[in-house]
């Protein structure tokens, strides 16, 4: 016997490993078992977007708001403003409203990384995502992506970081047929539009890169100013999947992304769950 342990082997030698995430499958998965009471209670959902309108009738309370901005004076070029903020456009409010409708008791955290014209830098986006992963959020809705290849590796690293922190990243595919980082990476729950407007329905596409399908065409969503709009886009399909994940996590706290995938796939229209 040798005392030498190859790198990364330590967790399996000693008592630090802890229990594997607990998930007793009930045989065939049922909706009732998967969702529990369906409230999403105890689940913190981050909405990385243009901000979220606090108090919007269809969104309710925003539990925390963080604005991520470039700061050339800061050591790492970024600053986080932890204070109530507005939605600069309406897009983030729309996403938050879809999540709230599906999982009414989630805590919503608005992480503002987009500007008034829905533009933002990959640098700010990556820092916003890192903040969410490091601050105990459970589900992140990313109805945005970047085509900036220079940041591909950064997002890969963040995705791996999120996976081992058991943070579920839900990422809308771009509406245009072009590079969509991190949406096209297998480490996220990537989403595009499926038929219809019923948000209880979802589809699983094992062939990717759009792994999940949900309602996002001609859907009514909340918007800035307390009202609603009718809109289409993958941006509004992603929060449907985020909402379903929040329900699942509310019923099964602490599970890993791969376990959540198993449940979500069973609940899909082309899945095997029982009503």
């Amino acid at each position: 016997m040798t005392d030498f342990l190859p790198a990364w082997s330590e967790p399996f030698h000693g008592t630090s490993l802890g229990a594997a995430p607990h998930l007793d499958l009930p045989g065939r998965i049922t909706r009732e078992w998967a969702y529990g009471d369906g409230s999403g209670r105890g689940v913190k959902v981050g909405v990385l977007d243009s901000g979220v309108e606090d108090g919007h009738p269809l969104v309710g309370r925003v539990d925390r708001a963080i604005a991520v901005e470039r700061d050339t004076d800061a050591e790492n070029g970024i600053r986080f403003i932890d204070a109530p903020h507005d939605d600069l456009y309406g897009h983030g409010t729309a996403c938050a409203g879809v999540i709230r409708a599906l999982a009414p008791e989630v805590e919503i955290v608005s992480v503002r990384v987009l500007s008034v014209n829905l533009k933002g830098s990959a640098f700010v986006f990556a820092h916003g995502l890192e903040w969410c992963i490091d601050n105990g959020l459970h589900v992140l809705n990313l109805s945005l992506s970047t085509g900036n290849e220079d940041f591909a590796e950064t997002f890969w690293e963040l995705l791996d970081h999120a996976a081992f922190k058991r943070v579920m990243l839900v990422s809308a595919m771009n509406n245009e047929p072009k590079r969509s980082i991190p949406s096209e990476f297998a480490g996220v729950f990537s989403v595009a539009c499926a038929p219809g407007t019923d948000r209880e329905r979802l589809w699983y596409n094992p062939n990717g890169p759009a792994e999940w399908g949900a309602a996002g065409i001609d859907v009514d969503v909340p918007w800035s100013g307390g009202g609603t709009i009718n809109a289409s886009g993958n941006s509004f399909a992603a929060p449907v999947i985020a909402g379903h994940l929040a329900r699942i996590l509310g019923a099964h706290p602490g599970i890993a992304p791969w376990q959540a995938r198993t449940i979500l796939a069973a609940l899909a229209e082309n899945g095997s769950a029982l009503d």
């Binding site: 309406g90 014209n117 918007w223």
Partner: protein, 244 residues
């Protein structure tokens, strides 16, 4: 004259020439397309805007408010057309006034407030949004209108990128020359690329004025001469120091 100076002068000419020589045929085609589209949709108005960074620049329009719309610059953060430009998603709205994204003040400036709007993105060959086509108060049935709008957008996909390419003519020219000669004459290639690196952006305001003046092509020679004389006066007034 030194070769570097000559190249620099060539670069300056190539930078300042395109704005005063707007791509008449392309703009006229876009304008004609608006007129055709208006008839086909049975619409009150049709307009086409090109996306330039975060601004929609209205190139052409037909019907209600057309004269006011052409030449207008709007940030993409305002209005339904901006929404389509930002998201790349086509949009059909039956009651514009009830939609919080609708920029009512902008519509009022054109003198025409639409009830319904159909807006489709125009994409370039890479799939990026190059502009938008807006149809105001169409009478054509919805399903047919969507097919028709997509067809017009496909035509515009061929036209819009070309219009902006002219504005970048100097860059393309120097890049092509630099690449072409670098194999045989590395020094000349380097000089061309150095010019390319220091090239200023074409003047957007000058481009807009030039595009407006381009409309004089339709005028008769006497009118052109009168406008020419008037312009000389205006330029003299605008640049008093140079006249002294």
């Amino acid at each position: 004259m030194r070769r570097d100076d000559l190249i620099q002068q060539l670069a300056q000419v190539a930078t300042h020439l395109p704005p005063v020589l707007p791509p008449a045929s392309s703009l006229e085609q876009v304008s004609a397309l608006c007129t055709t589209a208006r008839l086909a949709f049975g619409a009150a108005a049709v307009s086409v805007a090109a996306l330039r960074d975060t601004t929609l620049h209205y190139l052409a329009a037909a019907g209600e408010g057309a004269a006011e719309v052409v030449g207008m610059d709007l940030p993409v953060s305002r209005g339904l057309a901006g929404y389509v430009a930002m998201t790349g998603q086509m949009l059909a709205v039956d009651s514009a006034a009830d939609d919080p994204r609708f920029a009512q003040d902008v519509a009022e400036r054109t003198g025409y407030l639409p009830t319904s709007l159909l807006i489709v993105p125009v994409r370039d060959q890479r799939g990026d949004v190059a502009g938008v086509l807006s149809v105001l108060d169409r009478t054509l049935a919805s399903a047919d209108a969507l097919v028709l709008a997509s067809s017009f957008a496909a035509q515009l996909s061929l036209l819009l990128p070309g219009i902006d390419e002219v504005g970048r003519m100097a860059r393309l020219l120097l890049q092509a020359m630099g690449d072409a000669v670098s194999a045989g004459d590395a020094q000349l290639g380097t000089a061309l690329r150095r010019s390319l690196a220091t090239l200023p952006e074409a003047d957007a305001e000058l481009s807009r004025i030039a595009a407006t003046l381009g409309e004089l092509r339709a005028a008769d020679p006497v009118t052109r001469a009168r406008v020419g004389a008037l312009l000389t006066e205006i330029v003299a007034l605008a640049t008093p120091k140079r006249r002294r």
